[in-house]
Amino acid sequence: MDAAVTYEKDVTMLPETASAYDVATAIQKCAVGCVVIVDAEGRPRGIVTDRDLAVRVISRDQDAGSLTASAVMSAPVFTAEASDPLARVIEVMCRHGIRRVPILRDSRVAGIVALDDVLAQLGREFDDLGGAARRQMFEARLASSLPRLRDDIETRLSELGERLKQVGSRATETLGREFEELRERVRRTLQ
């Protein structure tokens, strides 16, 4: 089972005293979608996305230079531990309807996992699986046991499709585990 850290990226952080303008500048310079607002010890206090700035500053006609990050951030922050499995991170995203989850080490913000990165990785695994399945079928054909194997692979793929669907809409705790199992299975069969 993949750990959350596999998908972890660098995180951009600012103190609560930073202005909304500082946050917007950081979002542009670091090419990120959000900034995590932390206290002096690096503990998460809130999170500001590009959308938060559009809605809470521009739409409401506020002055970005005088508005503080703490006034525009969303709080509390929903986080995961670096030791958590990916399934736990996905669960946090689904439960709270968010796309980004800061990762903590010793209560301090150390990284971030974004849904887009997870989906991109799952897509690559789907691709790998397709290649593996084709090879497996070829070998099975030689061994004249194609129907049973194909049935098996297709059943698993169907289940996988269901899981993927859930990522797009509702929670799935087992997505990561299912993927890992499936990969192991294909790997074992191919040996």
Partner: protein
């Protein structure tokens, strides 16, 4: 399969002469992250919440004065309603976008296609495909057996 067979989203539009602030307000009110900028019925660009932040806040410009037509990218990327799913994903990847305006033969806006919808669609399709295959293999549901050689 053409994307027109999908349930396209209704495109939320805004006139190119509207202010950036009006656009942000629409996004807040309607709970959306992007608007298709139109000149009459013709789409001239897209503007996202992120575009507004980078242009207005980082650029220190007045949201009440700047028009969305200035922020929206020139020569907007659109896809024809006859485009296939594969063509749409290729365009999204090439331009690094998640949503695309869909236009008819006259270049008029007919809807919006979003990456999230495509993902759901692909997941459903792969499930259906597997189900069909399984039924054929087990000889269920009167499906014609594949010819044997």
């Amino acid at each position: 399969m053409a994307i027109l067979d999908l349930d396209l989203r209704i495109a939320q539009t805004i006139e190119c002469s509207a202010s950036a602030r009006a656009a942000a307000h629409r996004m807040e009110k309607d709970g959306i992250g992007c608007l298709v900028v139109v000149d009459g019925k013709r789409p001239v660009g897209m503007v996202t919440d992120r575009d507004l932040v980078l242009d207005i806040l980082v650029g220190k410009r007045d949201a009440r004065v700047v028009q969305v037509g200035e922020i929206a990218k020139r020569s907007p990327v659109t896809v024809p309603a006859t485009a296939t799913l594969a063509e749409v994903t290729r365009v999204m990847r090439k331009h690094g976008v998640r949503r695309l305006p869909v236009v008819d033969e006259q270049g008029e806006l007919v809807g919006l296609v979003a990456l999230d919808d495509l993902l759901r669609r692909v997941a459903t399709e792969s499930g259906d495909l597997a189900e069909t295959l399984r039924r054929q293999l087990s000889g269920e549901s009167g499906a014609e057996a594949p010819p044997r050689t």
